[in-house]
Symmetry: C2
Subunit: 400 residues, 2 copies
């Protein structure tokens, strides 16, 4: 997975970032992303039953357009959620962008992130959009990734490419995350663009598959948000078509899968207050779902997450977290390794040197493997981060 370079950006898209004054503190808070030509589009949205207006609007737009979109408008600083005029704000935004692009309203998708329930004037984004429209440029991708940040400390942008029949297509993506990250989806936005030609139906399937193995396998704090949105646009500008050959389907799935996984890990690594990335791999469970429940119980345990922060190979907390997952297993069957060193064998302390595992945990990545002995073939991998005093500081002070 490559870091972003301008020469690898997908063809036929242009980007602009600017300041509309939505965010209290300075800096860009608005991003406009436009395809120069008609594009297929797909989206995956939060499962929280409280859904912000931009989520409702974008989901509806995709249904009405039959999976076509021309522009995406995203803002940070206000979630546009749980206010009386939230629908009006989202609609005014889409209408303004549609007028600039000369396309029907349902070909504009919108997304917001920030505080919930704060007043949001309807003309703020429409007033700022013409300025952004004039500055649209292929090279402003990373500026957009920066404009959608909230408590993120670094912008997250990645790109990949794939070949079909000797021709190259590109995929690029940006994401913002930080807190409230937990499947299914979170205060997480991700916008993905490819210059391959993909039908709306196939695009939807490919996106769901990729999200299931990336953004839905991460957790920062087990909270999920009202605004989570992943959007994928495909405009065909590369001349590469995906869907006609198995080769093209696989190549696209691999590129998209690698891209979304890299962005998902970028989000966790930049989790609020996080100092370490932790990978939790479970195998030997009776099914993939069972493995996932165990992995998520470990990944979401505050006691495991604080032990990771303290570089403490406290495998008893890992075993206890797995035990409360709701997925029954025989403790005698449990083996646990931390960064390759076996710390628990058959549910009991393995013979390991505490100081050396501790030293290994002082790095910025911790790998926890939880294996059940026996016939089970279910496996799952999830990513999380440690729980530090920084997380508490950020979230106790967020608005004040």
């Amino acid at each position: 997975m490559r870091q972003l370079t301008a020469s690898h950006l997908p063809l036929g898209f242009r980007f602009a970032a600017g300041r509309a004054g939505i965010r209290k503190h300075g800096g860009d808070d608005l991003a406009l992303m436009v395809s120069e030509r008609p594009a297929a589009a797909a989206g995956v949205f939060t499962k929280n039953c409280v859904r912000a207006a931009p989520v409702e609007l974008s989901a509806k737009a995709l249904r009405e357009s039959g999976g076509k979109a021309r522009a995406v408008v995203a803002n940070a600083g206000n979630a546009n959620c749980a206010t009386p005029n939230q629908a009006a704000v989202a609609e005014a935004t889409a209408a303004a962008a549609a007028a600039l692009a000369g396309v029907p309203r349902h070909q504009v998708l919108v997304a917001s992130t920030g505080v919930i329930g704060e007043p949001f004037a309807e003309d703020v984004i429409p007033d700022a959009l013409p300025g952004l429209w004039r500055s649209l440029d292929r090279g402003q991708f990373e500026a957009c990734a920066k404009a959608i940040m909230t408590t993120d400390t670094v912008p997250k942008a990645r790109c990949a490419s794939f070949e079909v029949g000797g021709r190259t297509a590109r995929v690029a993506g940006m994401a913002k995350g930080a807190g409230m990250i937990m499947p299914d989806m979170a205060t997480m936005l991700s916008f993905l663009f490819t210059d391959a030609d993909v039908s709306p139906g196939h695009l939807r399937k490919a996106l769901r598959l990729a999200v299931g193995r990336s953004f839905n396998c991460i957790t920062v704090d087990s909270d999920t948000s009202t605004n989570d949105t992943v959007l994928l646009l495909a405009n065909g500008a590369s001349g590469v078509t995906v869907g006609e050959s198995a080769e093209s389907v696989i190549a696209f799935a691999e590129a998209l899968g690698g891209l979304t996984k890299a962005l998902a890990i970028d989000i966790v690594r930049d989790g609020e207050g996080a100092s370490k990335l932790a990978r939790i791999a479970v195998q030997g469970a009776e099914s993939e779902g069972a493995a996932r429940r165990i992995a998520m119980a470990i990944a979401n345990s505050p006691l495991v997450k604080t032990a990771i922060a303290g570089a403490d190979p406290n495998w008893g907390r890992i075993l206890a977290a797995a035990g409360k997952s709701g997925q029954p297993f025989r403790p005698d069957d449990a083996d646990i390794s931390i960064n390759g060193a076996q710390v628990c064998s058959g549910g009991m302390r393995a013979d390991f040197v505490e100081a050396s595992v501790q030293r290994a945990m002082e790095g910025d990545s911790v790998e926890i493997e939880f294996r059940l002995r026996g016939e089970g073939r279910g496996r799952a991998t999830v990513w999380t981060c440690d729980l530090t005093e920084g997380y508490v500081r950020i979230n106790a002070d967020y608005r004040t």
Copy 2:
């Protein structure tokens, strides 16, 4: 609910605390609690599928004895869990206490709390028990409450009394909690004693009912432990019989219910790093179970808990936490109050003065009410505490 006073302790029980050297740092780490006469006994244990040896032993002893017990031995400093000799340690403990008391082994119940997976020599507790046996005394109740502490900052001991036909019976209880507190049960021990005469069958029912409305309604960090144990002994020394009259059943249930609720709230108030107690009351849900799921989702949300720490009336986080509970509701139906001030009306910001709600939240108790408009009659109340930098500090450093 009264604070503990010696004159209110149940008759016919004696207590002793001492140091067996199990805990690294100084102080008592062993408690012995004995009924002078045969007593009925009941227990409620962790639902974690990884159960420590003392839990297994006590559950089995209650089955074998038909709900009779004469002594309880509890230690702090080592959970006696996930080690090769855990069963031998628990058995040696019960055997030593049974020999001192002159009763069958299955009339001794044992409990442990502390680190999981640490070596624990089989003779440590048996060697220390004779000294404790000699110092048994009615007045050492609070010393036992202190000996079972781990990261608790204060001992938790409460007593109550009730009258049946003009005669008084007493109930007293101790608890230890702090971290890993979440239903159903947690690294939580509680030992309850009454001098009423109660049949084992009725005692079991009364205990289950009381635990369901107290210890199972609290959460510190959503983690549950391998060792959670609540034991209740009834020895009849007061001459009061519970079970023959409805009056006696109700009086006992009320006294026991009040006692366990007070202890449960004591545990949350002393949650690891906690600076505030928070009460989450949900009403208008479609069932009690639905109300409980919503209340627990709010109580366990790290974003809500950090907002409470920061005295931030961030009702959007409360709404979003309720929304991810898995219990569907219409956001338009949600009203939220914090310390009596309505902050959310019909899913939107209510007209409230931020600074005054903030000031009210700066006290040491926060009351959150979440009401759904409509016909639903389901209600539930749970207690939690705020999530502070102190929680992280305590748990990142626990063993090192």
